[in-house]
Symmetry: C2
Subunit: 193 residues, 2 copies
């Protein structure tokens, strides 16, 4: 039998992704400033500072323009006050670069915002593909009581600008618990760009 | 409650993808010339000419460079002689453009080939992400007895060159049944580029 070369052995499992080229974790302490209820945040920080709130496994073949970075994001369930666990969020440094997030398990939101402050959401359940259009700030929010796991894919030359959210005092809306569900609340600290 | 705008409602289901912007089907008659056993092919063609061998649902937001085309490919099981059902295969017209295929169900191969005729394969089972590097011709092959369903994603400006395979008399290797398994066989009609 002819023996071919094997392609990269990327396999998504409940534990993460084998064949990844990198992994990063964000602990509770890394999310200082994201949540409005600083008292609730500080109370959790006292005992859970090192708790991993989300982690990302990624396969980054190169940084070339036509290449694609692919990976798995795993966001734990939980709240800080009435706000749900969320990722830091970013916009692509090359703002015309887009991204997809394919929900593999859990229940959450892709919370998006245009540069002029319009909010766009995609509610994520297994099978949903959230599409992040050009020039949309985006972050994941976990609405459920299990991990929110998504497969993501974006152009390798996109880059990330995390600071755009801090500069405007957060995203325009916060996602807060409302009985068993959720609602959007205006972020009082928001400063239009 | 603040009512946000909704993102595109893309949902992958066993039947396809809701929210798609397009769908195409390839019937047996469209695959004339792909299989080596023309007698077996003609025999099937006599009764199954209109049978859909694979179909593709896609979401194509735009053709801009940073955009991503996302969809689902569903390749039926079956054989023509000893060869398994396969897609036509292509290389990206912009050859530096890459692609991922995330296997959602079934069992198959991503059969890849470099311009100088080296064969690269990724065996696909649920959870496997096949990564197609720059300048790799690629096609899907269904090794199993159920549909091979993959979520794909590639840069919107990639384009497709289907003719590259025909010009070299097919891909370098054929994927043929070998007992309960499979093997690669040199394609006798192959002409190096």
């Amino acid at each position: 039998m002819t023996t071919p070369q094997q392609g990269p052995a990327l396999v998504v499992t409940p534990e993460g992704m084998t064949g990844r080229t990198g992994r990063y974790e964000k602990k509770l302490a890394d999310l200082t400033g994201l949540f409005t209820d600083t008292e609730a945040f500080d109370a959790r920080l006292a005992t859970e500072s090192d708790r991993v709130i989300y982690h990302v496994d990624e396969f980054r073949p190169s940084g070339d323009a036509g290449d694609l970075i692919t990976g798995i994001s795993t966001l734990s369930p939980g709240r800080v006050g009435t706000e749900f666990h969320m990722t830091r969020g970013h916009i692509h440094a090359q703002q015309d670069r887009t991204e997809i997030y394919h929900c593999l398990s859990g229940h959450g939101l892709m919370l998006m915002e245009t540069l002029d402050g319009a909010t766009v959401v995609t509610e994520m359940r297994p099978g949903v593909v959230a599409y992040v259009p050009p020039a949309h700030i985006h972050r994941s929010v976990n609405l459920g009581d299990t991990d929110l796991v998504t497969l993501f894919c974006y152009p390798a030359d996109a880059g990330q600008d995390y600071d755009i959210i801090a500069r405007s005092g957060g995203m325009r809306h916060r996602v807060v618990a409302d009985g068993d569900g959720w609602r959007l609340e205006e972020n009082g600290s928001y400063v239009p760009r």
